[in-house]
């Protein structure tokens, strides 16, 4: 077996007496499509924050491919191929999507400190950015300021920004959060159409979506892994139905 794309071992974090992550071990094989589910407050976003370095773990290690990235800052993790999106839009409201994605591309290409040449002269970077936007069906709206885009488009831009870093592993925190069901399908179709080399972990509440797109599901409860398995195994798991699926139906 080849090395997993992303691996965590014994990852733990608590705020005072509140344990938000308890001894979490996850292994994402290359090209995986994993879903992370669990009730509100289970620690899903916290786990992403730990993996991407926005929170420092109290204990445990994180590996990206062969590298131990536990002590790297978020930026260094991004440079090595670990990107994320945010549950709440974390975009650049005053920039157009083209500018925002070009910015991310420039950062990756290491030309963001160039201060004398006009941005427009960096044709390759701009074309790459436009290409990403096209793939995410944002090409037509890429000249409007981000704050004027419809919400659903902004969710796609979240993903576009992450893709501009050319990640090996992409962590999607509820990519369709707040999007009406008829539009969320579009977002996941886009996600599903991403390259097979890209390793994906996404948080999602809608079980239909999860079962349709995930190859593997991890259930997080109270900051710890409750169980994990294929969609079939999870849907058959009596405990999951009780603690999570059961309550969701009504909630």
């Amino acid at each position: 077996m080849t090395r997993p794309a992303l691996l965590t071992r014994g990852l733990s974090k608590s705020f005072g007496s509140l344990v938000v992550a308890r001894d979490i071990a996850i292994s994402l094989p290359v090209g995986a499509r994993y879903a992370l589910i669990g009730p509100n407050g289970a620690g899903k976003t916290t786990l992403i924050n730990l993996m991407t370095g926005m929170l420092a773990p109290d204990a445990g290690r994180i590996f990206l491919g062969d590298d131990d990235i536990t002590n790297f800052d978020p930026r260094e993790r991004v440079r090595r191929g670990l990107a994320r999106t945010f549950q709440i839009n974390t975009l650049f409201p005053g920039l157009t999507p083209l500018e925002a994605v070009t910015l991310a591309v420039c950062e990756r290409r290491g030309i963001s400190r160039e201060f004398w040449r006009n941005i427009a002269s960096h044709r390759e970077a701009i074309d790459e950015a436009h290409d990403i936007l096209s793939r995410l069906r944002l090409a037509e709206e890429c000249y409007r300021p981000t704050r004027e885009l419809p919400y659903g488009r902004q969710r796609l831009l979240e993903i576009a920004l992450a893709l501009a870093t050319r990640p090996k592993v992409l962590l999607l925190d509820e990519p369709a959060a707040g999007v009406p069901p008829e539009e969320s399908g579009e977002i996941f179709e886009v996600v599903a159409g991403l390259s097979d080399d890209l390793t994906l972990l996404f948080i999602e509440h809608d079980m239909h979506v999860v079962f349709r797109f995930a190859s593997h599901i991890i259930v997080l409860v109270g900051g710890a892994i409750y169980t994990e398995g294929t969609p079939a195994e999870i849907s058959a798991h009596p405990g999951v139905r009780e603690v999570y699926l059961g309550t969701r139906r009504h909630g």
């Binding site: 930026r75 991004v78 990107a83 650049f92 920039l95 910015l103 400190r113 160039e114 941005i119 436009h130």
Partner: protein, 331 residues
């Protein structure tokens, strides 16, 4: 404006290029800066000091308007520049252009040194730290009166003729020509910088500080760089004032100067290259006129001006005007 351009842009590259193109109104603006020579030759000293204030405001705009770093201590660099130019001149080297460069270099060096601290903080703490450094420096300059002349100001500054040809005359003719030229050159620099990949990264920092590391951006390094550049530019403005007026005093470092600068920039509209220039022109002309008619109560009218601008034109004069223009175009 952007949407109008977008429909005609043939490619993303052409679109981005069009954003950076010189617009007719910009060219008109710079041509208009030459008018004082012909129309109001008796106001050239004021025009020179407005150009200097405009340059100073432009330097603040680079960090505040573009990178989102609110500073209440930017006068520190202005003062460093002014004192450097003044002290060099006092000890026998009054050549203006080399003095200007030395001042910019020293202000930039101090800016670079402090930027390591500045880049670590945000929000109120950042504002207060810039304020604190500014106040500490002002106190230091006061206590080092053997070097700075203390409250009485630095005495014995003499600026040599510009290029060995132009005497700094009583009418401010040379002073305005000199200040305007330096302003224009540095404006071009700032304009290029804003339209470069680095400028885009700065706007990214302003628009969303949290997202930047998630797209792999070294925000702190960017902030250090722009803070250094802005410091050097502020130092240049200070040196210009010292050279053209042959005076330097503690007020060049004061909190009041930092605060007044902020007012000018916000009045004109932060985050727009011309915001600081427009703000400096309006604020200083208004003050000159108001204080000419009511030397004791001009504060009142300046206050009314500020309140009126905020209520009628949010985001500064340029911001408010562009909002109105956009709304008008939509209907």
């Amino acid at each position: 404006m952007a949407s109008a351009v977008a429909t005609t842009a043939s490619s993303p590259q052409a679109y981005l290029r069009s954003l950076a193109r010189w617009k007719p109104i910009e060219i008109a603006f710079w041509l208009a800066t030459l008018l004082p020579f012909a129309l109001v030759p008796n106001y050239l000293s004021l025009a020179s000091q407005i150009a200097i204030a405009g340059l100073f405001a432009l330097s603040l705009d680079l960090i505040l308007g573009y990178a989102g770093i609110v500073s209440l201590g930017h006068a520190a660099f202005f003062g460093i520049g002014a004192y450097t130019a003044g002290i060099i001149s006092k000890y026998g080297w009054g050549e203006p252009i080399s003095g200007l460069m030395a001042s910019a270099a020293l202000a930039g060096l101090v800016g670079w040194t402090t930027s390591f601290i500045i880049a670590r903080f945000r929000h109120l703490a950042l504002i207060m730290l810039t304020l604190g450094f500014g106040l500490l420096l002002a106190e230091l300059a006061n206590s080092m009166s053997w070097l700075t002349g203390g409250v009485d100001g630095l005495q014995g500054i003499h600026t040599w003729d510009l290029l060995g040809l132009f005497h700094f005359d009583l009418y401010g003719f040379t002073a305005y020509a000199y200040s305007l030229t330096v302003l224009f050159i540095l404006f071009i620099v700032a304009r290029r910088l804003i339209n470069s990949p680095f400028g885009l990264a700065l706007r990214g920092i302003r628009e969303n500080w949290i997202r930047m590391p998630a797209i792999g951006a070294p925000s702190r390094a960017h902030i250090r760089a722009i803070y250094t550049i802005a410091a050097a530019m502020a130092g240049t403005a200070g040196a210009l004032l010292a050279q053209t007026t042959e005076t330097v005093s503690l007020d060049s470092l004061s909190f009041e100067r930092s605060a007044e600068l902020l007012v000018m920039l916000v009045l004109g509209g932060a985050g727009r290259l011309y915001g600081g220039l427009v703000g400096a022109i309006i604020f200083m002309v208004a003050r000159d006129q108001f204080s000419g008619t009511t030397p004791q109560y001009w504060y009142f009218w300046i206050g009314v001006l500020l309140v009126a601008v905020v209520t009628l034109l949010p985001n500064g004069i340029l911001g408010g005007l562009s909002n109105i223009a956009a709304r008008w175009r939509k209907t």
